[in-house]
Every structure is written in structure tokens, then in C-alpha cells.
Amino acid sequence: MPQQPQWKMALDVERCIGCHACSVACKVENQVPLGSFRTKVYYWDHGSYPQVKRDFLPALCMQCEDAPCLKACKSGALSRGADGIVRIAQHACDSHGACEKACPYGAISCQPGQIADKCDFCSHRLDVGMEPACVETCPAEVFHFGDARDPDSAYSRFMARRGHETAVLKADKGTRPAVAYRGHRVEMEAKIPEGRNHEGWSYEIETWPSLDAHFPPQRRVHWARVEPGQNITEYRAEAEGGAA
């Protein structure tokens, strides 16, 4: 019997342009509901004008070898395959939410009434010989994915060349991720929320200069030009954009 592949990923973040193509490809591919993300791209603005820089950090499930989500799940819905991928058996999920709370990478979403959801390297695509959706679409060639046992895979070739420059995120958590990063700003790891998949406010541009993962309500900006409940038939001149 042929050996199982060992699926692994390495991201060369120096090349990333923050375009969100990976994230949207993932959402369409996996029909991910609004408010949940399997992959997200964080922004960080730092420095003082005119010496200002912007860094990006695409984040997804780390397919940890020692996965806290797996240990936290009470219904046995999570398991780690021989190929290294941590998967959710949808029928077995009881929406308990312990997995989301346990994940140091904010990579699992388990909202009330929804089945837990997380990246599984697009396993259904791997099954038919396709790459994960994020890997395929990335215009900047950030993602290097493949079978770590195959020296010719994109992953192995990248690691042979640049592996010594890579690191895992939040190594102190001791979860032994299967996803490696090259060229990311270590400070940005603080932006990845622990125990929570997505907080709406974390995508607003007001958070770009911050390294916080969570935003206390008093620091949030509330802005609503379109009043709730106003529908198109009630459209009035008042809403015409303030032209004098």
C-alpha cells in the first residue's frame, strides 16, 4: 500500500500583498457563512509618517500535531487523519463550541446553531487532485503546499530552499503546527484571536495600526449612514449624500 501523503503548507509572507483572494476563494469554495472564516488576512500599519509600512498575515488552521481543538471536543467530531489533516465529522458535531474556545489561532468557528467549521486544506479538492482554493488563486505565490514526503512537491521544494528561514506561529503554545511562515512580523501573531474565530470589528481599518486581537467596546467606532429599517421604497432626498 502506498504511503499516505503528509500534507503541509508554508507561506512566504514577504510576497503577500494583502489582497484577500485566499480568503474569498475559501469562502466561496467552502460556503463559509458570513461572520465565520477559515482563512483571514490581518493588516498591521506601523511606523511614523513618512516611514510607514504595512504588513500582512494570512491565517488559517495550523493542522496542529497536538491539536487543542481535538482534545477539547466532547462529541468526538474532530480527528486527525493519517495525512496530517485535522477534520470535522459534520454529523457528529453538537455545536458545543469548546473547539473554538480551545484554538489558539482562532481557526475554528462554532457558532450557536452552526456546525463547527475550519480549514481542512480543502480535502475534497485534494481527493480529486486539486490544490486548496487559497493556494491555487494566490497571485503573489505566497502559498507553498504539498506532500512533505514528496521531495518534488511545492512544499518540499520551498522548504529545501527557504525552510531555515521559516517559523511557526505562536510556537509557545506547543501545538506543533503543520503550517510554516517565512517573513512574517512576529508581533502580528498577537492579532490572531485566541478562542474566538471572528469578531466583526477586527476587520475594520481602525484596527490596522493595532496589535490587539480584541477591541473593547469603548474603543470601537460606530458609524451608520444608512438607518436600519430604511428600505428602498422609503428612499428620500435626505439620503442624497449631503450635497448642498
Partner: protein, 820 residues
Amino acid sequence: KAQPRVPHDYRKATVVRSVCLNCSTVCGIEGHVIDGKLVKVSGNPEDPNNGRSLCAKGQSGPTINDYPERLLFPLKRVGPRGSGRWQRITWDEAHDEIARRIRRAMDEGKPEEVAIHVGRSRVGEETTRFMNAVGSPSVFNHRAICSSNKRAANYVSLGETDWETGDFERSKYIIDFGANVYEAHQGAIHAAKRIIRGRFDNGAKFVYFDVRMSNTAGRADEWFAPNPGSDGAIALAMGNAIIAAGLHNREWLDTWSNVAADDLAKWIDRYTPEWAEGVSGIPAADIRRVALEFAHAAPAAVAFTNRGSGAHYNGFNADRAVILLNAIVGSIGQPGGYCYTVEPTRIPPQVFPHPLPMPPSPKAKSAIENPPEWPLANKWQRMKVGQIVYRHLLQGKGKVQVYLSYTLASPQTWPEGRSLALRVLKDEKLIPFHACSDIVYSEMAHHADMILPDASYMERWGFDTRNNMELRDYVTLRQPMVAPPGECRSFVDSLIDIARRIGPDTAKYFEFKDHEEWIRRRCEPFGKRVGEDGFAYMRKHGVWQDTSKPKYYALYDWPLSAEELKNTRVDEATQIVLRKAADGREAPVGLMVKGTARRGFITPSRKFSVYHPDIEAAAQARGFDEDGGKGMPDWFPVPSIERMGQEQLHLVTFKWNVHTQGRTQSQKYLSEIVHHNPMWIHPATAARHGIRTGDMVEITTYRPHGHGMRGGGEVVGKALVPAWVTEGIHPRVLAVSNTLGNQFHGRAATAHNGPRQALEAAWDRAAVGEDADLDERVWWDPARGGTGAGYNVNAILPIQPAPLVGMQGWFDTVCSIRRA
């Protein structure tokens, strides 16, 4: 208990190749269709530009087709215009009424009062054929609010094309003036991908000029924030520094430029880096250093532009100055340099000929379509001055009886959009009849008299092309991946049907069943080239690339063949090769260079045009003396900026990487990422006004000064927007994105969570069902503590067409602010 989601089973999928149209970049795509539903798109691996890559917008495409707020039936308004009350009608009724109204205008001898107004439709050949059949020149477009200064600059300098193709992958030094290429440049993904390869795989340095820290600025090797409107001064000063250091390519200039090296040195002598520092605020030492680094890397060095440099009063010359910078170091057409191809924006008619008979060009004239105030707007191609359409209608400079709008969102995307444009759109005297073709119930549709539900770009036909980064001719095919829902019908199919109903004089040009048959007939002769059925070839591959010629490096230096030299002579004075046609008239076909006949540049001198006589003539004719009427790429100040008060600021706009201006806000996964557009403001400026992040700010804008401008200094309007204090912006500049602030387009676009509202007449649950995401999970809805759908600032940006070419000076707006 929640229903498990079923992963896409790609073993059951059929793959249809086509072309994206969720922005202007023209990416080849593959649609994966399972059980009649388009579940996913990915890049067409055969596409020479993007291959398997797509951006976020491209990936979002499938969500358009089954958006619950899609228009599904033709509608006719039953209340006053803009009341939002509609009645379903049949396609026969819709087309009959449009045809009858067009016939009446034609019979009155006023075909020019039939107008079609399009955004980026990509069916320009079809709409033009229709309008030619009607006899109307009134095809209004959006080029002047997009890119006409840049295109004009390329036409002037190179003659051959309106769009350069930087050979970024092989470059060693890339200077970008105001093209936010990592997010929103035309051809963004194609160029960004290669700039990244150039930088990280080929060791290129990337230097970027922009007033705002875009993603491009934030990731460039060096980012400079010049004073708005000073890009051209910087480029000229770089040229000055290079020539002063003797690093210019004298031989190239003396051979190929219509201003030889010594003459150029004399002229550029006045534009020193120290002078440019005063204009731009960028230190002379940096200008000189970057210039010399660029020259040392040449010819694998490219400087290019887009909106940031071009969308100014002086943008035409700014872009010419940047092209000149490439000529000074001899990188035009060189590997790693400033390359270009034969006119890349047209479907080659010799390969895909139009079905005959073709209607003749119209004899009727329109002062809106061809306004004499801007003599260079339609000189090289019909770029027009789209932003003046509504103002001219209001001023009575032109009339319309029938107004057809397509892929247009002028209330959102036009300067003075939600103010002047909307005022005219609402006025039944100025626009007696408006039929709008659209995908969702838009602001444009809301102000129409009839709505024609369109097929999405994944449900219709068309050819598309643009510049190919691989420097070859290529053409792509847009074809339906799935059938449109409800009674949706592509706009071109509507036009064909309407043309048949107007009368035999128009019907004779539309002797084909539908758009598909039109495309098929254009592919028939093409079949001979590929040795198989041409239509089948295009449907299978989605793209055709002409590999029969070498890549278009140094096209000007290509020798003329013996065939091309037949019946030619050389003009002794100019060394231009002239060919005599059958009617005895002579036309230039090349240039003698060191004893051999070369193609040269397609300019009057057959050389790279630094000076251009047509510009000098046009400037003199219009009394436009800012550039001295010299026809050189001079720099002159933007009058509105020159007169700015100490406390006044620049107001600029920008495009997000996940949105186009008007079309994408209804796409839930894109609006989930960006739905909120506060005003960017520098900390020092904010502190002076007591403004903190989240504070509401009142912006007041003023009318422009300058040639052909009226009411300079008067108030245009006021807006109330929240502030975002950021280090990533020039201290004198405020930035508000040009997208967002939709009041229509459904729940994703307007940040409304809950059940689908109103317009039930347009919808059919059987054709397009509800989306639980929009009913339950629009988390940016203000009612759920979200930040809402943003603000549309275009309402208060004045219409300000630049002299001669007429491009909108998007970045010349002067404003003042106060904390509200």
C-alpha cells in the same frame, strides 16, 4: 440542528472557460458547474496574463448569479420616476416600446437624441454597431473618469497604443507613479504578480509615489508621498538628474527620439531636483538618488503611471513626463523595461471579422459625445468626456429622447454623482425616457422608466482583451457558464431584438439570431488560423494567443519586410518611408535607421514623440497657454492647488482591493471584508482640528479654478464622515474611498440584515431563493452594532475635466474641514 454543508464534488463538475468582469483587469477564468449551478471560478491556466490566479473580486463572481436581490423580470415604472413602484411587463412590450421611441427620434431626423451610456460593458463593438444602425453618435462612455490622460500620453509618445506593458518580471528597477498596482490598477493582478516576481525572484527594487499608504505603498522598497499634482515635476527632475550625470542613453535618443539628446538636455535643464523639491516636497537628494539608481539599472528599468499621476489637471503631461523618463534611459521596448504591444484593447478585426453588412458611421453630430472644448478627447480613440454628460444636458448643450444605460452606476461613481447626475436622471424633461439594464436593483435602475434584467458576465457572450504581459496578441471569449435565472436576458440580445423591431433599415445589420450567433460568425474565419472549428476552439480554450510572431520587444526596431517595402520611397528630409496606395496617396509605414527600413513609432515623425505638433496646435486653438503651447511634456501647477488657502486640504479618493467603484458592494463576501470607509487624516492635521478616530467631520468642497472652469472657489457641497487618524497619509491630504455608500443593491450592499424587502414584483423565489447569510448574518448592519455601508463622497467632488484631453481631475479637489 444545522444542516451539514455538502462539499463540492468536482467529479461531477463541468468546466467552462470564460473571462472575469468583476473589475477591468480581464482575467481568464474557469467556471465549475455542478448540477446547473456555478459553484466556483478559478483562473484559466491558459490565460497568458493571470494563469490560475484570481483576486478576491474574481473569486467572488459566483455569488452574483444567485444573489437574492437579482432582477429577474422586465419592469416598467407605475409611479413617478424614483418612487420605486414597478409593474412586470414582457420582453415584447419592453422591446416594442424602446424600438418605437427610437424610430420616432429617427423619423424626426434626430437620431443623435438616442443615447447609450455605458460603463465597462465589454460589448462596445456591439453597442456601437447598434447605434451606427440607428445613426446616432451618442455613445457616452466612462473613459474620461477612468484613464484618458494616461492613454493620451501613450498615444502621443508611442503612437501605437494607449497602454504600456512594463516587463516587470525581468526588470531590475521599477518606479510606480500613482498606480496602486497591488490593489486596483487596471491589469492589477497581471502586473502585481510580475512585480512580485521581479522583486523577489529577480532582485528588482520597487519605488512608489502616492499620497496615501495603499497596500502598494506599504510593501514597496521605498514609498514617497509627493504633494498632489507634482508627479510630472518629479519625473522631469529625474530625467534632468540622469542627463546631468551623463547616464542617459544618448544613442537611443539620437536615433529614436524626435527631440535629440542635446536638445532634450537643454530643455530639461530647468527642471532640477531642487526645483522639484519645492514643487513636490520630496527631497532633491532622494529624487536624484532614485533617478541615478534607475539609470544604472537600465535598460531593465521601468517607470509607469496610473490614476495617481494622471487624474489631475496636469495629468496628461505628468504621464508623458514619466514615459519620457523611460526614453531617457533607453528602456522603451527593452526586456525588463517599458514595453508595449500593438493596440491591445481591440479584438483584431482581421482575425475575427465583423459580420457584414456593417452600418456606416453616423453623420449626425453630438456636442456631448464630441465636445469641442476638449479637442484631444476623441483624437486617437473616442475617449470622450463622460463626466460632462449630465451637466451638458442640464445646460441644454444636447438633448436626449431615449437614454439607455448599461453597466453604469453614475449616481455612485460620477463626480457630482448623487447630486447633479441624480438631479438630471430624475428630471423627466431632460431625460424623457430611460431604460436601464442591470443585474440588481441599483440606484440607476431606481431612477429609470424601464428595467431590463441583464445576464451576469458568467451568463453571457462577448470577446475581451487587453494588454498581454507576455507581449503577444491575444483574445479571450466570454461565454455563458450557466443559463441566467428568471427571464434575465443579456443586453446585447436585447439590442439585437430591438434593432429588428425598429425597422428594416436597422434590422438589415442584425441578421443573426442572437449574440451567440454573432460570436460564432466572427469565429468562423478564425478557424482557418487554428486549423479547426474556430468557435469550438474559443469555447474550449477561452483564449487564443498569437505565437506566430516574436514577442513585441522593441517593436519600433522591427525591420520592414520586402513585402512591406513594396511601392515605397524614402523622404530625404525626414527619412520616413512612405508607401503609395492605389489611389496615389502616400502614407508613412516606417523609418530609415542606419540604412535599413524599420517600423519606427506610429507618430507623425515616426519617432518617439517628446514634442508633438498636434498638442501644440490644440493648445493654441483653445487658448490654453499653461504649457506655453510648446507641445512638450512641461510641468505646470494645478490652478486650484496653487490658490489653496493655508487651512485648506486636498480631498482624494481611492479604490479598495476587494471592490470596484459601483458593482461589487452587493457581493456578500466582499462587503464582509470592506463595508466602511472613514476619512483618512494625518495625525498632525487631525490634532490641529481636534479630531480623533471615530469623530464625525464635516468636509466642504470647492469648485476648481483653471482653464475652462467656472465658479472657482464656490462651494460644491458638504459631507459628514467619520475620521480615521493614520500615519499613512500626506499631511495635507484627506482620503475617502470612492466605493461604498450604496443606498440600493440589496442587503449586503446597504448593511441590512433581515428578510428581503420590497420590489417583490421583480423577484421569484423559485428562480433565486433566499440566502440565510443575508437574512441572519449581515454583522456589519448598524442595527447589530456594525459600522454600516459607508459613505459616497462622489456627490461633493466637482466635475473638473482637465484641459485638452478632458480627463476628470479626481485628485484636484480642494476642501476644508471642521469637527462636527
